[in-house]
């Protein structure tokens, strides 16, 4: 059964349609790229899936349930912007996540901090933008969730850390869990994706596997994206 299901999902902000009539099933065991130009509705979709936004009409379910307390235990979400307090140390945040989420794996988190040379005693406010992003991603990836929703996880980090993050996503792969990565840095993540969803102006333009695109169009997903969304 699909881990995420959207039916005629619509979200309006006043007159503006951020998502219109979206039908989508996300199966388990997949790594999926949610791709689209700025303002296409990627973050709106993810926020609907986390319950931070409520649909104007239509529905979205996670493991059969409407987003709420129950689904938050299944979904590990990396927001675009940090919501953690500046005064907290990395280790405080680990403890915080440990308290909040039953599926949080502290050992895994500590190992990742070490791999990325982040001192657990450092406070968030003293960290660079990229380091903050790494800490957040460590928190999110250290949960044993069924659905990971990563909103622009690699935008602010250096290429070496990017490789490490992608490797983490690969090693973390589980047959019963799926990862949705929203990004416009397609070329960097293309290799780790099973499927891609192109969205534009709140509508799905294309759902395909990466290799189908390469087979059919003789170009990479990145190449196709540049062509389809040429400005």
């Amino acid at each position: 059964m699909a881990i995420l299901r959207a039916k005629a999902l619509t979200k309006k902000f006043g007159n503006l349609s951020a998502l219109s009539n979206l039908d989508l099933d996300i199966p388990r065991g997949r790594i999926i790229g949610l791709l689209g130009p700025n303002g296409s509705g990627k973050s709106t979709f993810i926020k609907l899936a986390t319950g931070l936004l409520v649909p104007t009409s239509g529905e979205i379910t996670i493991g059969g349930a409407t987003p709420g307390v129950e689904t938050k235990a299944m979904v590990s979400y990396l927001p675009e912007r940090t919501y953690l307090n500046d005064w907290m140390r990395a280790e405080d945040m680990m403890a915080f996540f440990g308290d909040f989420y039953e599926d949080f794996n502290r050992i895994k988190a500590d190992n990742m901090l070490q791999d990325l040379n982040i001192n657990p005693r450092d406070r968030l406010k003293t960290m660079s933008k990229g380091t903050k992003e790494k800490v957040q991603l460590i928190l999110v990836m250290s949960r044993n969730a069924e659905l990971y929703l990563l909103d622009e996880p690699i935008a602010g980090v250096d290429p070496a850390a990017r490789d490490y993050i992608l490797n983490t996503i690969i090693t973390n792969y589980k047959e019963n869990a799926s990862v949705v990565i929203s990004t416009h840095l397609i070329a960097d993540i293309e290799q780790v994706l099973d499927d891609i969803i192109f969205i534009s102006q709140g509508e799905i333009k294309l759902i395909s596997t990466v290799d189908e695109i390469r087979e059919k169009h003789n170009k990479s997903v990145d190449g196709l994206f540049r062509e389809v969304f040429k400005c």
């Binding site: 065991g29 997949r30 790594i31 490789d163 992608l166 490797n167 690969i170 090693t171 792969y173 070329a187 293309e190 290799q191 780790v192 994706l193 099973d194 990466v210 290799d211 390469r214 087979e215 003789n218 170009k219 990479s220 990145d222 190449g223």
Partner: protein, 127 residues
């Protein structure tokens, strides 16, 4: 071991080719156990399902076989490996002739050129 994935061809096909090449060249010896899908996927930096698909294709080709409990192994059938080697050689030569014809050479000229160059390089190595 280095994996190179270029941008415009299906990723699983490129993985098949690179593993095939390792088998043909002997980098993977007949009967060798292959690493797990996850390890290989990590090494190549690709999606585990894509690596799985590549290994399934190699199984179909007969270059790799799976043992239910102990994992995947390189075939011990040397004939099979030789066959794959030949197929690959034909493909390379076809491609080469295709390019040379685009440059305007006829078959005889190409062969004469190959012999000349081959002769020259032998001359060099002996001197």
């Amino acid at each position: 071991m280095k994996w190179i994935i270029d941008s415009d061809r299906p990723i699983y096909k490129q993985l098949v080719e690179q593993i095939e090449l390792k088998i043909i060249s002997g980098a993977y010896a007949p009967g060798d156990k292959i690493k797990s899908v996850r390890e290989l996927a990590m090494e190549a930096g690709v999606n585990p399902n894509t690596m799985q698909k590549a290994l399934a294709e190699l199984e179909r080709m007969g270059l790799v076989f799976a043992q239910r409990t102990s994992g995947r192994f390189i075939t011990e059938d040397n004939k099979m490996i030789d066959e794959a080697k030949k197929t690959l050689a034909f493909k390379e030569i076809d491609g080469f002739f295709e390019k040379m014809k685009q440059l305007g050479f006829e078959k005889e000229e190409i062969i004469a050129l190959i012999e000349k160059i081959e002769g020259d390089s032998h001359g060099h190595s002996e001197s």
